[in-house]
């Protein structure tokens, strides 16, 4: 047997061993060991090639070709096996990382704005966008701002209807947000300005009345504008705009003549019932209308009380009951829910 043939037999044997080892490598690390064992600098192939020196120079290229072919075969087999193992490993990883996607997610606890806060924000925002400015006033008021300046003198019957909370020194808890009219107009003049002025004044108000449909503390938003040439038509325009925006649809509105000492003319404002669309239901007592607010043209006595020239300027004013508007908008049946503060209710209504 020639040297060449012997080497070729060795190569053949090596090839078989290597192919078996490659196929048998269970992971990438094993495969790397196989590569090193057969093709590495001290690997089996190098060992075999040490015999090339004993070969007839003419036979050397023949063997060289065989060796190259063998290397190519092994490299290809190694690459294929490597690819296979990589896929296998990836599949295993994916399987190991499989989760139950139906388990609940980690979610930071959500808070909730009180529905009255949302109502106050929505209402105020509508007027801010029209160009009104926000004003505030104290909740502990005096008789002048809460009554006298608003054309409600002490002997006035309307005064008794306000169910006022008093303090021993004669101060009181404001019964409406209308005193903000007085304060805002006085400040306007004190700052050296003149009308026009347009104010939205959200706030808490108090009446000593506590039952199913009355809360001793509730929220109002006072809206008023004073300038030259302001008329009932502006009042109606602003009311219509506000009610349409707030309820998100074009509701019919109805103004009924009424009486408030601080407006002349005065009007109660009704909207078409949001529950029955005017057909008549339990909520609107079959009338098809819901009373939502009181409004009117500011009484000249009120303007005079703040030293505004009532012959030159006129204005309108209205006061919104926030609880009522929120109840109507969201179908909340009971006023008391707002102040009970049951977290289940607040979360359901919250945003």
């Amino acid at each position: 047997m020639t040297e060449l043939a012997s080497l070729r037999t060795q190569l053949e044997q090596l090839r078989n061993e290597a192919m078996d080892a490659i196929a048998g490598a269970g992971d990438l690390a094993r495969l790397q060991q196989v590569r090193v064992a057969f093709l590495g600098r001290k690997g089996s192939l190098t060992e075999v090639l040490k015999g090339v020196g004993r070969l007839d120079p003419a036979a050397r290229p023949l063997l060289g070709k065989d060796v190259n072919r063998l290397k190519e075969t092994l490299n290809k087999a190694l690459a294929e096996r490597e690819q296979e193992l990589r896929l296998e490993a990836e599949r295993a990883r994916i399987e190991a990382e499989r989760v139950d996607v139906t388990l609940p997610g980690r979610c930071p606890a959500r808070g909730a704005l009180h529905p009255l806060q949302q109502g106050l924000d929505e209402i105020t925002e509508i007027f801010l966008r029209l160009g009104f400015r926000v004003a505030e006033g104290p909740e502990i008021e005096d008789e002048f701002h809460n009554f006298d300046a608003l054309n409600i003198p002490p002997e006035h019957p309307a005064r008794a209807m306000h169910d006022t909370f008093f303090f021993p020194d004669g101060h009181l808890l404001r019964t409406h947000t209308s005193p903000v009219q007085i304060r805002a107009m006085r400040r306007l003049l004190a700052d050296g300005n003149e009308p026009p002025v347009a104010i939205v004044a959200p706030g808490r108000v108090y009446r000593c009345d506590y039952d199913m449909t009355h809360s001793p503390m509730f929220h109002q938003v006072e809206v008023f504008q004073v300038g030259e040439g302001i008329s009932m038509a502006h009042l109606k325009g602003v009311l219509k705009h506000f009610l349409t925006r707030y309820f998100g649809r074009d509701l019919p509105i109805r103004l009924r003549p009424s009486y408030f000492p601080f407006t002349e003319p005065s009007a109660e404002v009704d909207i078409g019932c949001v529950f029955c669309d005017g057909a008549g239901c339990r909520v609107c007592k079959q009338s098809g209308w819901l009373e939502v607010l009181g409004s009117g043209m500011i009484h000249p006595h009120v303007l005079r009380a703040v030293d505004i020239d009532a012959a030159r300027y006129s204005g309108y004013a209205f006061g919104l009951g926030v609880e009522r508007l929120v109840m109507l908008k969201h179908g909340i049946p009971d006023l008391r829910l707002f102040f009970e503060n049951d977290v289940r209710f607040l979360r359901r209504m919250g945003s």
């Binding site: 021993p168 001793p216 008329s231 103004l255 002349e264 006129s314 977290v343």
Partner: protein, 783 residues
């Protein structure tokens, strides 16, 4: 106010339906809150005349009647009653009628005899509780007519809310006047009926000394009255109008008042001594009112008195011991005009509201003073007999409120309303009693005396508005220049964004709750007229309210609560003070059991995180100073929150006894910030992003337990100098492996130079400096 429709129809012949009248009233400013129908006329019950009556062949107790009900042929009806005879008129329920009790009349046979209807008793028609036998109608009842119609059984009662400026509409006459003017229906004239005066009966003596508070007072004596109950129709009418029947005289006076708007009073003449006086009370004078209350009068009160005693608080209530009762035979009737302001003051001072005071303080129609007197006298004489005297008279009612003139500009009214006036409105106003004179743009108005509410040109604008109708006013949106208005206050929104649920609680709490968190009571503001003791004092902290809400929710199976409230607190300092506050409460579980985490109770750092997180949203950073003397909070877990040099709030664990007073046995943490004490939110300022990498090092120190994290970090920062960008505590540990009295604090620092990459050696040197500083200043050793 309740107003039977039939009363309005007696003042003016309205033909409109109830709905049309209701709509018109609403348009005129008289809110109709509802329509009651106290009696429905039964349909199908007719006036029948008995033509023949014979005994039922098969039943002793029954009769066979032939009854003419205006139909072609008479009806045969079997009847069990005995009180009727041939020729009587009786109500006959015809076949198909449903009676008020629900009985349906059907054709039938009773013991073999056909019956085509039913003769009715008052009870069967729903007119009485009980009845013996058939209702026998008067002979003039027209055969065949609906009984309900003939008896005026049908009634609709309007439930009205009359605004306080319209005293003139608190009567059938006043309301009908407004409505008739608008609907163009003629109003019946109000004429004082003639009274046959008995020359032997002397008019009462009268002395009035009350100036403008009583410009007119009429009195009449009626002797020899045989007092009985008012007739049924009158009592029924009073009941419809929401009043109770009292006795014959009082009922007549009330009925007159409800019709004409003029309150009246009757004294028992035999309980008076001498002449009547109208005068101011003497201070301290006492009198027992009809309702049994003893009143102590002031010299501001106007009274009616005889020579010995006060017999009435003018225009409000009479005295018990001059009142008419069932034994009364001689009367003195009063009809007068009292000034509204005088009545209002006395009414408020004595806390008395009566039907009379409501009308007088809103202003009555002066013209009715005399008419009502005549009307009531006449009714009393007709019903109860007696002899009437001449009137004792003070003043002339027609002069009251007369001749008031307003000068208006039509263009100003149109400008106020935003709508053009029309001639129909003038016609309506004239029918309402206004005298109008137009001269170009000028309008001169003479106001009728009963319209106490009309005095200014703006009042005329209102009159025009309600006649023209607000629906005619166009809608116009004003143009406003947008101001430099900041957005909405977002304080509570930022807290909600961090997971809190916003609550709103009452501003008043119980005084003992106030003491949980505020030591001194000197600044408390107590209400004079609280709803209850639990709502007596204005809160000086939001915490009691939050604790109540926590209790409510934890009692309803909540495992934990995380609440925030924004609201004011109220105190008397040198002056009244109202400050806006933001307060948090966390109680129970901060984290619930989850598949990825175990439940955890809330602790101090949960509430601190809320506050610091909230502040950081405004780019503010507070210092927390331990405060063992914080009222209502547990020592060792309470802190002052300090910004700059100012204390802006406090926080901590609610003291156990306080929490337990709300029934809370869980850990409860609270915090409160004074929003008015906070500086405005800082605006962000741009700084370039770093170009070179930072080096992070962790240094773990073993320190004494008294060392505060804030202090340690300050030492670290100062030692680190310019290159130390950030230092924070990443670990705190005590326990196994740590000596007693010591604590291990891990600080992570970030080193960076803006201009280059730091070398290892530089970083090592910096760390050494930091470690040395901590060793020296905090007695802390590197672990």
């Amino acid at each position: 106010m309740k107003m039977p429709l039939s009363w309005l129809k007696k003042q003016a012949p309205f033909r409109a339906s109830v709905e049309e009248m209701t709509d018109a009233l609403i348009r005129l400013g008289h809110e109709v809150e509802g329509v009651e129908r106290p009696r429905h006329a039964v349909r199908g019950v007719r006036v029948g005349r008995i033509l023949a009556k014979r005994p039922h062949p098969n039943a002793d107790r029954l009769s066979l009647l032939e009854i003419d009900v205006g139909a072609e042929a008479p009806l045969s009806i079997v009847c069990g009653a005995r009180n009727m005879d041939v020729g009587d008129k009786v109500p006959v329920a015809t076949v198909g009628t449903e009676l008020p009790g629900g009985l349906k009349i059907k054709k039938g046979k009773i013991r073999g005899e056909a019956s085509h209807g039913m003769c009715c008793s008052e009870a069967e028609l729903g007119l009485a509780e009980h009845a013996d036998g058939l209702m026998i109608l008067p002979p003039d009842a027209p055969v065949g007519m609906e009984v309900g119609e003939w008896l005026e059984l049908e009634e609709a009662v309007l439930e009205l809310s009359i605004t306080p400026n319209r005293g003139d509409c608190m009567s059938a006459r006043g309301l009908a006047r407004d409505l008739a003017a608008d609907m163009d229906v003629p109003l019946a004239a109000a004429v004082a009926p003639a009274i046959a005066v008995d020359a032997q009966t002397r008019a009462p003596g009268l002395a009035v000394d009350a100036g403008a508070d009583c410009p007119c007072y009429l009195a009449r004596r009626i002797e020899g009255v045989r007092l009985g109950a008012a007739p049924a129709w009158m009592r029924r009418g009073l009941r419809d109008a929401g009043m109770r029947a009292v006795n014959g005289i009082v009922d007549v006076l009330n009925y007159t008042m409800l019709f004409l708007g003029q309150p009246m009073h009757a004294f028992d003449a035999d309980k008076l001594s001498g002449a009547l006086q109208v005068r101011y009370a003497r201070k301290g004078e006492r009198f027992v009112a009809l309702d049994g209350r003893e009143l102590t009068l002031t010299d501001e009160d106007l009274v009616i008195a005889d020579e010995r005693k006060v017999v009435a608080l003018a225009g409000i209530i009479g005295s018990m011991d001059s009142a008419v009762d069932e034994r009364t035979t001689n009367l003195v009737l009063e009809s007068a005009y009292f000034a509204p302001a005088r009545i209002s003051r006395a009414r408020r001072h004595h806390g008395l509201v009566t039907e009379a005071s409501m009308r007088f303080e809103r202003g009555v129609d002066p013209a009715m003073v005399e008419v009502a007197m005549a009307q009531a006298s006449r009714t009393i004489l007709d019903l109860f007999g007696g002899r009437a005297s001449e009137l004792a008279r003070h003043g002339d009612a027609h002069a009251i409120n007369a001749g008031r003139t307003i000068h208006c500009r039509l263009s100003a009214i149109e400008a106020r309303l935003g709508v053009a006036l029309d001639s129909r409105a003038d016609a309506v106003l004239r029918r309402m009693g206004f005298h109008l004179r137009r001269d170009g743009d000028r309008l001169e108005v003479e106001v009728p005396p009963f319209r106490h509410d009309v005095a200014l040109p703006e009042d005329m604008a209102e009159e025009y508005a309600r006649i023209i109708g607000f629906d005619r006013v166009p809608e116009r949106l004003p143009t406003l220049l947008p101001g430099a208005q900041a957005g909405l206050d977002d304080a509570v929104h930022a807290a909600v964004a961090q997971g809190a649920v916003q609550v709103i609680s009452y501003a008043f709490i119980a005084p003992e709750e106030q003491r949980h968190f505020v030591r001194d009571s000197a600044g408390d503001l107590l209400l004079s007229n609280p709803i209850s003791d639990a709502m007596r004092v204005m809160r000086r902290s939001l915490w009691p309210g939050l604790l109540r809400v926590a209790r409510h929710n934890l009692n309803r199976q909540a495992n934990g609560v995380h609440l925030v409230e924004q609201g004011r607190i109220y105190e008397r300092r040198e002056e009244l003070s109202e400050r806006p506050m933001l307060a948090w409460l966390m109680a129970g579980e901060a984290v619930q059991d989850q598949w990825y985490a175990k439940a955890r109770m809330v602790d101090f750092f949960d509430i601190k995180g809320q506050v610091d997180g909230w502040l950081s949203a405004r780019r503010l950073s507070a210092r927390w100073q331990a405060d063992d003397d914080s009222m209502g909070l547990q020592p060792g877990q309470a802190a002052r929150i300090v910004l700059g040099k100012r204390c802006v709030g406090r926080a901590g664990k609610v003291a156990r006894e306080v929490a337990q007073s709300y029934g809370l046995d869980l850990p409860v943490y609270v915090a409160e910030l004074d929003l008015s004490a906070l500086p405005p939110a800082k605006r962000p300022r741009f700084t370039p992003l770093p170009e070179f990498p930072a080096v992070q090092r962790d240094l773990v120190f073993l320190c004494g337990r008294e060392v505060r994290a804030e202090e340690l970090l300050r030492v670290v920062m100062r030692a680190g100098g310019r290159l130390l960008q950030e230092a924070r505590v990443f670990d705190v540990y005590q326990g196994q492996g740590i000596p007693e009295g010591k604590v291990s604090i891990g600080v992570r620092i970030l080193l960076r130079d803006a201009a280059r990459t730091l070398t290892q050696e530089e970083c090592d040197r910096l760390c050494d400096t930091v470690v040395a500083a901590v060793a020296e200043q905090c007695d802390g050793a590197l672990r």
